[in-house]
Amino acid sequence: MVKDINIELSGIKKSYDKPVLKDICLSVTNYSYVTIVGKSGSGKSTLMNILGLIEGFDGGIYRFNDTVIKKGKDYSKLRYENIGFIFQSYNLIPTLTCRENIMLPLVYSSKQSGSLDEIIESLDIADLLDKKVTVLSGGEKQRVAIARALLLNPSLIIADEPTGNLDPVNTKIVLDLLEKENKKGRAVIMITHDDTIAREARKVYRLENGVLHENY
């Protein structure tokens, strides 16, 4: 069973040296599959990090389920209870084996892992478990990273260009996996720069000048 997820952003602002996000409005619930495209440097990753509660924002309202997100507060509990991250550069810890990487969230959560065997089977990574991360291919690394993201049964998957470093075969594998997880009720927010992927997606936003444009 996937938990309820209901997030809503309105008027989100974020600047570094110059404004990156100006007025972001977005709502996501179970079964949502949101794809975001945009030029490099347009602020896609920034938006994903704000959505994933690993970065703060300067203005606007962000409601995560019943919680109104405030600046400067640490939402580690919301993260491990709800969110699974998938990154373009995998972000696996190189000193650990695949199994240790996948199990890492359990160190910080008392929550019982949903179905480790099922995850391992569906991702076809049983043979990789005892290997060092550094010896894996890109596609294998990303599957291990997805396994880690799914371990605590997240209701929201945040994928920042998950296929950016992958060949077409592995891209298809990863997209199919995300599709499958979405069908179980998980919300998926994905960044891509691949037009074919974007065209196939159900709901596509384009991030331009700090604002999200729907139905690109």
Partner: protein, 384 residues
């Protein structure tokens, strides 16, 4: 994982190990050196003062004892000295003492202390009856046993008029002298002195050449002052001991100064080592935090790691320094033939424990605190 974490802490470990070893090594070395330098000095009772003069200046000593008689916590006795001929050919020094004395002092040229104490069968006190003799080991070995296997000491005294008289004494005990008598010095003192009960001989039978005064006192400063004022020679360890105590106190001051300097130097080194270790781990921290690790979990991890590294290096440095000191001791004893004891004072030990504890505490906590300040997003973007 453990192996990689170890590599991460290698620089930090080397820094901590060397610094702790330096600190502990300095403490144990200075303590051992000062202990070995002063151990003989402090083995001597500072309450016992020894004064001597030739027999002609009896009156000067009398003037002193008159003063001493007024003190209730001061006791003294005279020891008279003369020279006698032994039956085995050599001259020896004879010293007359009361039947019970609390200690014997010998002059010594080669002792750092200035005086050292003769031990009689391991005791610092002895009693000798009338017609009994206490002899040095050299004298004891020179006496031939009589028919019953008993050793009897025969001495020939010569008085001021040149009249000679023979006396026999039973050997009550033999003492081993702490001073080394050099055989090549063919003096009457080369075989050590014979001690006799003052009641064993008439003063007129032997020419008394020296008078010595043994004083036991609680008022050392006053007594020493009196002796100096009366212009009689005086040997005492009290002043030397006080000097040594001052010396040791200065040593302790130095320890604190060195500790403070090391603390600062080490602090700077440890800070950069910890920062290095942390920089290598920022990516790991970012990933763990993104996954949902609380700041406190990360903090705990780094406190534990920091503490473990520092504790391990403390123990390792102590172990290494102890081994090194044992090598030093070995060299001293085997090569230089000096008895050497490796020791550390309680204050030094406390200083070291406080020193390492605070460095460990400060840096583990700082390390852990800094680990929570790592921005998650900043370090996630690294390519694998």
């Amino acid at each position: 994982m453990i192996e990689k974490t170890f590599n991460n802490y290698l620089l930090l470990s080397v820094t901590a190990f060397l610094s702790f070893a330096m600190m502990f090594g300095y403490l144990i070395y200075t303590d051992s050196e000062s202990y070995n330098k002063y151990k003989d000095l402090f083995a001597v009772n500072p309450n016992v003062i020894f004064s001597y003069n030739d027999a002609q200046s009896k009156n000067e000593l009398r003037a002193v004892t008159k003063q001493l008689d007024k003190l209730s916590d001061t006791h003294y006795y005279y020891m008279k000295q003369c020279v006698a001929q032994t039956s085995f050919g050599k001259e020896c020094e004879v010293r007359f003492i009361p039947s019970y004395v609390w200690g014997l002092y010998m002059t010594s040229d080669n002792s750092e202390v200035g005086t050292s104490r003769a031990m009689i069968n391991g005791k610092h006190e002895v009693s000798i009856g009338v017609n009994e003799a206490l002899v040095s080991e050299q004298v004891y070995n020179s006496i031939k046993p009589d028919k019953d296997g008993k050793k009897q000491l025969k001495l020939i005294f010569t008085n001021d008029e040149g009249k000679r008289v023979l006396r026999k004494y039973d050997v009550a005990a033999a003492y081993s002298d702490l001073n080394e008598y050099h055989d090549d010095l063919e003096t009457s003192y080369s075989i050590g002195a014979v001690y006799l009960n003052i009641g064993s001989v008439d003063e007129g039978e032997c020419g008394i050449i020296n008078l010595a005064l043994f004083i036991y006192t609680e008022q050392k400063d006053f007594v020493i002052q009196q002796l100096r004022k009366s212009d009689v020679a005086c040997m005492e360890v009290y002043t030397t001991q006080n000097q040594a105590v001052l010396d040791i106190k200065n040593g302790i001051m130095n320890k604190y100064i060195i500790a403070a300097v090391l603390f600062i130097l080490l602090g700077i080194n440890l800070y950069s080592s910890f920062t290095n270790a942390l920089n290598d781990r920022k990516f790991e921290i970012g990933v763990k935090r993104a996954i949902g690790a609380k700041k406190s979990s990360i903090m705990l991890q780094f406190v534990i790691e920091g503490f473990t590294v520092m504790l391990a290096n403390t123990l390792l440095s102590v172990w290494a320094v102890l081994n090194l000191m044992n090598v030093y001791k070995f060299v001293k004893e085997i090569v230089f033939n000096e008895k050497y004891i490796v020791t550390i004072n309680t204050e030094s030990l406390i200083l070291f424990v406080v020193f390492t504890f605070f460095l460990t505490l400060i840096f583990s906590l700082l390390f852990a605190y800094k680990s929570t300040k790592v921005e998650i997003v900043k370090y996630l973007k690294e390519e694998l």
